[in-house]
């Protein structure tokens, strides 16, 4: 009889170890996905000054649109510095949504200047911008998927016993609330450099 008990204990310990490791793995994946967002946001922020410089000369009278982009960008940079998956995701998401909206307005304006669009430099920048928006979106998608499975796993029954030991915490998802932000990819598609 006692060896049955022993087997049960050993099985429980083995399960506990693998569950613990599984949670730690998910936590690591989540943090890694967050890092990926960070990298792509930084790329987005770094690209904007180049874009502004390229279009500034030709659209001097669109100062308002340009100012809005610069302002939204600087604010997003500030907020990004202190955001973590366990706090500040909502604020960062809102700031990035504002930036995305400002950028899409700029993109619409650029479309109205055929001579500006004709220069290869702008075409390249637009492709970079499209790609950057996509990268941010896909990094966000990966983060949300990973974070969701992390959140669900640590609340499910047997794992919830281990969650405290693995220092698992519920992380915030990057949710899109702004309608304008949802519309960003649609605007970006117009910049396809297609033959």
């Amino acid at each position: 009889m006692s060896w049955i008990l022993l087997i049960a204990i050993v099985a429980a310990v083995v399960w506990g170890i693998s569950a613990y490791n599984g949670l730690i793995q998910l936590k690591g994946d989540t943090l890694n996905a967050w890092k990926q967002i960070d990298v792509q946001l930084k790329r987005r922020h770094d690209l904007i000054p180049n874009l502004i410089n390229a279009v500034k000369g030709a659209m001097d009278f669109e100062r308002e649109t340009l100012e809005a982009v610069i302002q939204a960008r600087n604010q997003a940079v500030k907020i990004q510095a202190e955001a973590l998956p366990t706090g500040g995701v909502k604020k960062l998401a809102a700031a990035e949504a504002r930036l995305g909206a400002a950028l899409s307005r700029l993109n619409v304006v650029v479309e109205q200047y055929p001579q500006l669009k004709a220069t290869a430099n702008i075409g390249q920048l637009q492709e970079e911008l499209t790609s950057t928006e996509n990268r941010v979106a896909f990094a966000r998608q990966l983060y949300n998927d990973t974070a969701t499975s992390y959140n669900v796993r640590q609340q499910q029954f047997p794992w919830t016993l281990i969650a405290g030991m693995a220092k698992a915490e519920i992380v915030e998802l990057w949710e899109i609330t702004d309608e304008q932000e949802r519309a960003v990819p649609k605007v970006d598609l117009s910049s396809k450099p297609k033959a």
Binding site: A33, Q40, E127, R135, F138, Q141, L142, A195
Partner: protein, 339 residues
């Protein structure tokens, strides 16, 4: 669903391989069982007793060796044979777009960025190869870059990255090695029988038959011989079935990465319409491509024959499944797990 089905198929394949290898050993073990009376075999030499499964161990080692060899050299050979050149620094706008799209899909799939190759061929097609996710290669033809829109290119790249993420390159390399070994075994058996080896076997098993339990051995032996002779066909069909299941799986994963199944459907339609064979891509790497590069009519057809012999599922079925996925995604906002 596709994942489980292909796992079952691989299991059947491995069982079949084990039956050819170790099943043969077991039958020889039974049929060379030393008889109770020492006079069972004439002559002074002691009769051979097959106790160690040389056959199975040998076949397994051979398969592992072949898999290892083609795994080490396969990616290089496939790329070299297609005449692809590596895209290191993009110069043209469409190359830059390709680099960007690959980067985006690497982010979406959570994989490291693969190496990029361009195949100088006007037919739109793409394939992936590589040993693991850190040493993955994606090759696209020039025709693909000029034919597809940005979204469609993204979907195709996602399909290829899905092959990397699902370990399809490893799996198909292993299966190809097993098919090769089985073909060798079968060939050897044919020759053995042709040289009159069959009489030896028959003599032996009937010799053991008198000692009891021989009927079973004879039946097993006949079954085994039949399966050995049929092994090349059976194993190839199994490998093709696995290949088709992995193709559906890669389509589904592509939609998972892009959240845009309609783009892949549109890309497949365009690739299908440009139905000239992709001459740069060889027969051996056909299963790695997004569409059959040989332009064989068989992959276009539905029905029994196409179900058995195609490397890819019929294009119409793939497109229909992706469209169903897109429809469901539009309606519910949730992407179905499988096509």
């Amino acid at each position: 669903m596709n994942r489980r089905r292909s796992a079952v198929l691989v299991g059947i394949f491995l069982l079949f391989f084990a039956w050819i290898g170790f099943g043969g050993d077991y039958i020889f073990y039974l049929s060379t069982m030393p008889a109770a009376a020492p006079a069972a075999s004439s002559g002074s030499r002691t009769p051979y007793h097959h106790t160690f499964p040389w056959f199975g161990v040998g076949a397994t080692l051979l398969a592992v060796g072949m898999a290892w060899y083609s795994w080490r050299n396969g990616p290089k050979q496939v790329l070299w044979a297609s005449g692809a050149w590596e895209l290191v620094q993009a110069t043209k706008p469409e190359e830059q777009q390709l680099v960007n799209v690959v980067e985006e899909m690497a982010i979406a799939s959570g994989l490291p960025r693969p190496k990029l190759w361009i195949v100088p061929d006007n037919d739109p097609n793409a394939f992936s190869t590589g040993t693991d996710e850190r040493h993955a290669h994606i090759a696209v033809t020039e025709g693909l870059l000029t034919t597809l829109s940005r979204d469609e290119l993204q979907a195709v790249v996602a399909h290829e990255l899905a092959h990397v993420k699902n370990y399809d390159v490893k799996l198909m390399t292993l299966l190809a090695a097993l098919v090769g070994v089985l073909a060798l075994i079968s060939d050897g058996t044919w020759r053995f029988l042709g040289r009159g080896g069959g009489r030896v076997l028959r003599g032996r098993s009937s010799g053991g038959g008198r000692k009891g339990g021989g009927g079973l051995v004879v039946i097993l032996l006949v079954l085994w011989l039949i399966s050995v002779l049929l092994a090349p066909i059976v194993s190839r069909l199994l490998a093709l079935a696995v290949s088709r299941k992995r193709e559906f799986l890669a389509d589904a994963s592509s939609a998972q990465f892009t959240r845009n199944p309609a783009a892949l459907a549109a890309a497949l339609r365009k690739i299908e319409d440009a139905s000239a064979p992709t001459t740069a891509i060889q027969r051996g790497s056909a299963h790695l491509c997004i569409a059959d590069p040989l332009g064989r009519r068989i992959n276009a057809k539905q029905g029994f024959v196409a179900d058995m012999f195609g490397t890819h599922p019929p294009m119409a079925v793939r497109i229909a499944r992706l469209k169903a996925m897109a429809y469901q995604y539009d309606k519910t906002g949730v992407l179905p797990e499988t096509v």
